[in-house]
Symmetry: C2
C-alpha cells in the first residue's frame, strides 16, 4: 500500500509542473524566457510566469535582471549539498577506493576521524601479491602515518607525552611535526616515508563536509620499494581527484 508506484497514487499536478520547469531550465544551454519555458513545458505563459515568480522567491530559480530570463538558482546547490551529506559515505567512497587501487596498484583506504586518531572504515586491497595489509577498525598513529597527519592537520588532537619512534624516520620532534602539518594544510595532502613501519609508504587527503569539517580521509599505501617517492607523486593527482567528489565543501 505504501508503494508509490501504484496507480492509485494521486500526484500533485502543480508540483509536477514546477519540476517540469526546473527540468527544462536544467536541460537548456542558455537562460530561458517565460514564453520559451511555457512552450517547452506546455504551460501557458501566465501560469509559467506565476510559477517562476514563486520559484524565484524560493531561490530555486533566478531571474537575470539584465535580460529578464530565468536560470536555475543557487538554493539548489545548498539543497544538493544537504542531500549529499546524508548519503552513507562508505557507499559513495567505495568506487573511489576501487578506482584508486586500479590507477595506482596500491592499497586504498578510507578512514574516519575518531578520538585521538583516525580509524580505518573501508579499504580496497592492492591486487599485487606483494601488498600492505589494511584492517577495518585499526586506529592510525597520528604522528607517524599519512592518515594520522591529515587528522592532526585539521584539528585532531595529539596525545601528551613523547612521540614514539617506530622507525628511524618517525618524526619525534613536536616542532618538526608542526611544520609538517602546516605544509599538509597548504597543499591538501600528507605523506609518510617508512615512519610507522620500515618499508611502508603512504599518502592521504582529507574529505570535508559543507562546513569544512573533516569527515573522512582517503589514503594510499604500499611497500616503499614500489610505492616510492616518484610513485607517490604520481598518485597524488588520482588521490585528490577521488577525494574531491566526496567533499561538498572543498576548500578554495
Amino acid at each position: 500500500m505504501t508503494d508509490v508506484s501504484q496507480t492509485t497514487v494521486r500526484p500533485v499536478v502543480v508540483v509536477e509542473r514546477a519540476l517540469a520547469i526546473l527540468d527544462v531550465l536544467a536541460d537548456a544551454p542558455q537562460d530561458l524566457g517565460t514564453n520559451e519555458i511555457a512552450r517547452r513545458t506546455g504551460i501557458t505563459p501566465s501560469s509559467a510566469s506565476r510559477m517562476l515568480a514563486t520559484l524565484a522567491k524560493g531561490e530555486l530559480v533566478r531571474r537575470v535582471p539584465d535580460t529578464g530570463r530565468y536560470r536555475l538558482g543557487l538554493r539548489l546547490v545548498q539543497l544538493a549539498n544537504s542531500a549529499l551529506s546524508r548519503i552513507d559515505l562508505r557507499d559513495v567512497a567505495h568506487p573511489h577506493l576501487v578506482a584508486l587501487m586500479e590507477v595506482t596498484g596500491e592499497t586504498a583506504t578510507l578512514s574516519v576521524p575518531g578520538e585521538g586518531s583516525a580509524m580505518t572504515l573501508d579499504f580496497v586491497q592492492s591486487s599485487s601479491s606483494v601488498r600492505s595489509v589494511a584492517e577495518i577498525g585499526r586506529p592510525s598513529v597520528p604522528h607517524a602515518t599519512a592518515i594520522g597527519k591529515v587528522y592532526l592537520s585539521l584539528g585532531g588532537t595529539l596525545p601528551d607525552g613523547r612521540l614514539t619512534a617506530y622507525t628511524d624516520r618517525t618524526i619525534t620532534s613536536r616542532s618538526a611535526l608542526s611544520k609538517a602539518l602546516v605544509r599538509i594544510r597548504e597543499r591538501g595532502w600528507a605523506e609518510a616515508f617508512e615512519e610507522r613501519e620500515p618499508g611502508l609508504n603512504a599518502i592521504a587527503a582529507p574529505v570535508l563536509d559543507a562546513d569544512q569539517r573533516l569527515v573522512a580521509i582517503l589514503g594510499l599505501q604500499g611497500p616503499a620499494w614500489r610505492f616510492d617517492a616518484a610513485a607517490m607523486e604520481r598518485a597524488v593527482g588520482p588521490l585528490l581527484d577521488n577525494a574531491a567528489p566526496l567533499s561538498p565543501g572543498s576548500p578554495a
Copy 2:
C-alpha cells in the same frame, strides 16, 4: 511591473508548500517521517504524503525503503550542477586567481580552450616586482606551455608540421610529447620548465564541466629562479584546490 517583490504578485501556494518540505528536509540532521514533516510545515499528513510522493517521483526527495522516512534526493545534485555551470566562469574563478597569487606569490592565469590553443581570459599578476607578464587574449603555444599541454591532454589538437623549439628545453619530439600528455592526464596537472621562454616556469590544471569537458585551465607562472621545482611542487596543492570548486564534474 516586473518586480516580483510587489505585493500584487500571487504566489503559487502549492509550490511554496513543496519548497517548505524541501527546506525542512535540508535543515533536519536525520531523515524525517511524513507526520514529522507535516508538523514542521503545518501541512496535514495526507497533503504532506501526496506531495512527498510527487517529489519522490521527480527524485527531489527519496523515500528510504527500510525506514519509510524521507530525505532529499539526488536529482537536486544534478540540478545544482546545472545551476553552477551557468555562472559566468570569470566571476567565479577570479577569487581563486587572487587566492592562488596570494598563496604562491606568482602570476595566476585563467585560460579557455579555443581553436588550436588555449587563450588567456583573466589573470592576477604577481605582487612581486620581478614577475612574469600575462596578457588577456594571448594564445598559448600548445606543446611548449603548461596551459597548452593541459589543453592537448584533454582533446586539444596539435597542429601539423614541426614542433618549434623556443628554448633548449622545448619538447620537439611528438612521441616525447605524447608520453608527457599521458602523465598529465594521470595526475591532473601539467608543468613547463623554461620551454616557452628561458627563465619562465609554469604549472596548470584543468577545469571540467559536468560532462567531463574541458571548459577552462587554471595556471601559475613565474621566473624559474624563484618558481623552481620545489616551489612548483608546493604550488600544485593550491592550484588543484582552487581548480576543484570550479569543476562540477571533477573526474573520479
